[in-house]
Subunit: 191 residues, 2 copies
DNA sequence: GATTGAGTAGACAGGTCTGTCTGGCTGCCG
DNA sequence: CGGCAGCCAGACAGACCTGTCTACTCAATC
């Protein structure tokens, strides 16, 4: 394995791509700098010239993940008009990730599990979750829920639980389960 | 901090107590052997004579945590006769843990987040979750749910999600939220 | 053609990690 | 009283970690 697995692009792009693969698969704590640069086919000095530290590489990894998740969900919601359908589409998007071969749970949950309070991991995760909360409560209000904040929090509860179940039990059918349950909660909160 | 924080008992007991505190608070990966033995006030040789390796200490830590959780929940549901009440009592037990000052999420979720597949962490976690699943589905059947397996899985979904929310958002009110939601799901599945 | 910027290869420092080993102390039991 | 089990303190080995530094290559641009 002397040949790098991430071949094209600038050193920055290759590093980020390698970090995304390795950090997600094996954990930001477990994976060392040496593995990242070997996977990217890049010199160590390039990493430190570009990102300055491992922490900043971790930040870029999580930031990229956040942006990608957000874009994926928003693209799915955009063409829909019905707010109920939009809410359920969020879980359809999650189902897609479960089905991917290397699925390994929520990257933010994993990264923060053993990270120190105030660390880079917690900083980006806080942003990620704030956005998610607003998404759910906003759509809940749009859908006409009696208590949009309650429904929004309930749905985030389900979303988090599904990711945990899918990872820990290696059970991709959690996708069906969570969608059914979410639909029931939405209908109960609106009806 | 030269005086050990865990004072009484045999070397084994002190090591396990220290491991439970430190591993849970800061993570099994983050905490090194030296911190554990300093906290326990014990020599390194005693650790390796007693447990043989760090992995086995981690196993003992998770095993102890599993046994304690199980005992706590079973003691809570034992005096109850109504199956619905038993199901909700599981969430009351979880609410208690949320309220504890050092609450830091599900120990098993945290330990497995960046652990290699097949590791000690995953082994004990699999046992823990199998027990939990049977508890929920058994009580769901007892409560007269139309589809006990479905309800059991739904409740475990909620339980996992609540632990994640309580940890990541530092939001202990997740306890009320999950109890309310669980009650709604139980009633919908039975009625 | 000279200069400059970006990148490469890899040695190195300084620290931390797990795990082993030596040597000595204490208290209990026969 | 002798012996031994259990424990302590800490040095040490060997691996691995992040981050720095030197010396070199190559391509584009002025």
């Amino acid at each position: 394995m002397s040949t790098p697995a991430v071949a094209r692009g600038s050193a920055r792009e290759r590093l980020l791509a390698a970090a995304e693969e390795l950090f997600y698969a094996d954990g930001v704590q477990t994976v060392g700098i040496d593995r990242v640069i070997a996977h990217a086919g890049v010199a160590k000095a390039s990493l430190y010239n570009t990102f300055g530290s491992k922490d900043e590489l971790i930040r870029a990894y999580l930031q990229a993940r956040k942006d990608r998740t957000r874009a994926r969900i928003e693209a799915r919601i955009a063409p829909l008009t019905d707010a109920r359908a939009k809410l359920l589409a969020v879980f359809d998007s999650q189902a897609e990730t479960f089905a991917q071969p290397g699925y390994h749970g929520c990257a933010f949950a994993n990264a923060t599990a053993e990270a120190a309070p105030g660390s880079v991991e917690h900083q980006v995760t806080a942003e990620y979750r704030a956005w998610f909360r607003e998404l759910f409560t906003g759509l809940a209000a749009e859908a006409g829920a009696r208590d949009p904040d309650l429904l929004g929090r309930q749905l985030q509860l389900l979303y988090d639980g599904a990711a945990q179940t899918a990872r820990m039990d290696r059970d991709p059918t959690a996708a069906d389960l969570v969608r059914t349950t979410a639909a029931a909660l939405v209908d109960a909160a609106v009806g």
